[in-house]
Amino acid sequence: MTALIALVRKDLLLYLNNRRALLLHLLMPVVLAAFFGSLFGGNSSAGSGKIDIGLVIQDHSTISQRIGAGLKTNSVLKVQELSEQDAQALVKKGKLAVAVVLPEGFGERAASALFGGRGKPAMPVYYDPSQSTVLAMVKGLLTQQVMQEVSAAVMGPEGSAITARQLDQVRAEAAKDPRLAPLGDFLDSFKKFQQQSAAPDTGNDSGARGMSMPYHTEDQALSSGPKYNGYAHSFAGMGVQFILFMGIDMGIGILLARRLGIWNRLQAAPVSLTTVLLGRALSGALIAMALMTAIFLCAVLVFKVQISNLPGFIGIAACFGLLTAGFGLLVAAFGKTPEAARGIASFATLILVMLGGAWVPSFIFPVWMQQVTLITPTRWAVDGLDAVTWRGLDFAVAAQSMAVQLGFALLFGALAVWKFRRDQER
């Protein structure tokens, strides 16, 4: 026991004395998690995620002015009014995803085209080809706004002149094409409706509001835990990644010790190989657990991440620590040289964390990939940390993650011990 404690103490002291490693394993995940977290919506209270669009208003009609005003008050858009030339330049540079032009005469021509669809005006929309998803969203919002304002104008008292013009045009055409007669009848009725709406004593202003969406949505973010915080997932992902890098360093340390002869010196002492490996694994697990705790402490204090299930978090951090230690031993056992082992292990780690959803959440993956990646321990680690932070799931879910990680830790450790023993017997 004295020897085991001494071996663990030695590794902890060596790690704490290595400032560069400490900086890499602690500072880097925090910096990268802060960056990725802000991309994924941060703590979602700062109104982030608005779409920047440019708006060029060349039409001075009431309709176009109202469309512009409506877009500016939309909660998901951040509208910048520009000249057409400036708007095109900004889109080309990638500074704006989309720019919308309301050309001269747009309001009147759009109102005239509402019924019958003749003489539809064109609305130029410039977009960054890398932002086609944003284009679809903007077009949807634009449709809603234009329909609302154009229909309001047409149905309101000021729309009677437009209707009268359209009615004259339809009656003239209906003389040649009898199929247009019902449209003339509809416009006739509609004109009477406009006249009634215009009467000051009706007390009925329903027509003036124009057409609107026949429903509204009630958006509720659902999770069992606290409000979604994009940083929670990013800290989980980056923490897992950089702690696994620490595991690689641990394995490389053993390979260097074997190369330098210090490993032989340990073997010459009256301690078993298993004790030496156990000491390294325990110290590695303790360091990994401390790093995960420190990383999440920063997430909680600075980025307002909430740990909703503390026992679950402690359990997952401990099991991930053991997993890291097992991974480090595996690197040491199967790595031929420190140089070669570092390259291969770094590549394997990057693949593992990518498939584990450390960079982007696994729910973004295709369904088949979501299933396949369940065989990676990193997926369970990241999902487990999500479960005990923003998802706020109960201990049973955390326990599943812990069990899988523990299983992988035991598998890695057993393989490593087997290989070390085989090498020793040669």
């Binding site: 020897a3 001494a6 002291l13 330098l260 210090i262 010196r265 073997q267 010459a268 301690v271 020793q424």
Partner: protein
């Protein structure tokens, strides 16, 4: 005769098809210092590795004070202090922290561990650098700390594998002071080295090993007795000697053989006392003598005689 502290019997070890150690046997008695010598690749380090329990022997037996040596925790390992050729130190731990670790590996703790660390640091003259990291030490200081780490558990047998590699003469002397102090305490040592003068200074018994086999296992005096020549006379003449002159030198009493390199002669003698007569004969021939020197036969010569090649080949 004192009883054997270490007994190595018919030990063999192969790496694949290559036999690194082939039926090696020898003993180390209590209080004895055994010099284990041989060129690179002779099998010294493999033999030492097996004695220390770092490597597993394919066959044969190793007993340390009656305890069988094996891998893992072993009573035999507690009786051995191992000073490896490579520095087995953690550069980012202080000298004292390094010693605490190695002491704890042998089960030492508390006040006893502290006292042993203090004593070991004093013995290797590093007590004033206890808190410093080995990364700030000279090569010689690191070597001394390496030795201190092997002494903490008070081993009966200290095994030193090339302990002076890369060390300046001053530090080498400091290491020798330490080792001679240990010899004076009656401790047994196994010393492997390329430097024959070091082995000659310390060892009272020699095992010469080459190609994995023991070529000689005797005291230095007995080994020297094996050689036909016990001394050498080096003479640099004023001109190249004739064949007749060389034949004349060869005919002198006590001369074993003569080798010529231009005007320089190397004359091997059965005893150093014959050198004066040979020099007098050369003088009598009117041969100008520019320079001469005599030397005792060395372990290099013994090795050359046994194997036909130099230790550093």
């Amino acid at each position: 005769m004192a009883s054997a502290l270490l007994s190595v019997q018919q030990v063999s070890k192969s790496y694949g098809a290559r036999k690194a150690v082939d039926g090696v046997s020898f003993q180390v008695r209590r209080g004895q210092t055994l010099g284990l010598i041989g060129p690179n690749g002779a099998g010294k380090s493999t033999t030492v590795g097996m004695i220390c329990g770092v490597l597993r022997a394919d066959s044969g037996s190793i007993l340390v004070d009656g305890e069988a040596m094996g891998q893992g925790a072993s009573a035999a390992k507690r009786k051995i202090g191992y000073v490896p050729q490579d520095l087995a130190l953690y550069e980012d731990l202080s000298a004292l922290e390094n010693l605490h670790l190695f002491g704890a590996l042998y089960g030492l703790k508390g006040a006893l561990l502290k006292e042993r660390c203090r004593a070991a640091l004093e013995l290797v003259q590093l007590a004033d650098r206890a808190g410093d990291h080995p990364s700030t030490f000279s090569g010689g200081m690191k070597r001394r700390l390496n030795i201190a780490a092997a002494l903490l558990h008070d081993p009966q047998l200290l095994i030193l594998d090339e302990p002076t590699v890369g060390v300046d003469p001053q530090s080498r002397n400091a290491i020798f002071d330490t080792l001679e102090a240990l010899q004076a305490q009656g401790r047994s040592l196994i010393y492997t080295s390329h430097y024959m003068e070091e082995v000659e200074r310390l060892a009272d018994h020699l095992v010469i090993i080459d190609h994995g086999k023991v070529l000689a296992d005797e005291t230095p005096a007995a080994l020297y007795q094996r050689l036909p020549a016990q001394a050498a006379l080096y003479a640099e003449l004023g001109e190249e000697p004739s064949a007749a002159l060389l034949a004349g030198v060869q005919a002198q009493s006590g001369v074993q053989d003569v080798a010529r390199d231009g005007a320089a002669l190397t004359i091997r003698l059965s005893a150093a006392v014959h050198a004066a007569a040979v020099l007098a004969w050369l003088n009598a021939q009117g041969m100008p003598l520019l320079h001469f020197a005599t030397a005792k036969t060395s372990l290099e010569d013994i090795f050359l005689n046994l194997t036909g090649r130099s230790l550093r080949d």
